[in-house]
Amino acid sequence: MTTTMPDSIAAPADAKETIKKVSIIISKGSLEGVYPGLIMANGARMEGIEANVFFTFFGMDAITKKKQDKIKVATVGNPGLHMATWLGGVPGMSSFVTHMMKKKMEELDIPPIPEFVEMIADTGAGMYACKASVDMFDLSKEDFIDNITDIITVGEFYDMAAGGHIIFT
């Protein structure tokens, strides 16, 4: 009896699998909601992976002129902070925690959101706003920073993402 090995096992060890394209959705408007997607997008480009970033719902704050430098850590309803709910709601708490986190990020050479977004656009990544959210919040192209490639529909997003991986944050 002869057995044949499946291709995946028989493939030579040096034929390493690689990711060619990622499409990242940023849907949250808190500091801890925005950064992971930005880091993933920038990291993809650093590895030579094609990247698109799709900003939807409150995630659009990261590309909205008036809001992108006002994004804060959520101190209420955020169990990860291990802080009593009443304490998280104390006036100024969100600003304070945001300040501490930004300070640490600067030490680690992680750029503030406006600079990071510009940096990622400069890497050649596509930067898109979600049409449904734009309509819902009564926004227009003028409300966004100049680096935004386009406002697109969900269908157009899927077209663009075809053949790659989609990451939702």
Partner: protein, 104 residues
């Protein structure tokens, strides 16, 4: 492991990054560049590669892409035109230093 690049036996990791920066020569740089899709190392390429290498030799760490864009004299947009497959990684490889491990 050992590899022969531009006729010289050098210590590399499994992705081809030199493990001993002192074994590096400009000929090695040119050959690594060619193998990684950069046919000709222009003055602008060299500016990035040398900045990368010098920073590593001075501090023991490769610079982040952010400081590369700010301090090498070559802005981010151009970095990606020069090194489409990833500027920090490729400039480190060409510059004969270990693979940068930063996330930014």
């Amino acid at each position: 492991m050992t590899a022969t690049i531009a006729g010289v036996a050098v210590e590399v990791d499994n992705e081809g990054f030199l493990q001993k920066p002192e074994q590096w020569t400009k000929e090695i740089a040119a050959e690594i560049a060619r193998e990684n899709g950069v046919a000709d190392l222009t003055d602008r390429h060299w500016q990035v590669v040398e900045y990368m290498r010098n920073q590593y030799l001075e501090t023991g760490n490769a610079p982040s892409i952010r400081s590369l864009g700010k301090e090498s004299g070559v802005p981010i947009k151009e970095l990606y035109q020069l090194f489409p497959k990833g500027p920090a990684k490729l400039a480190a490889k060409i510059g004969g230093i270990p693979k940068p491990r930063g996330c930014i």
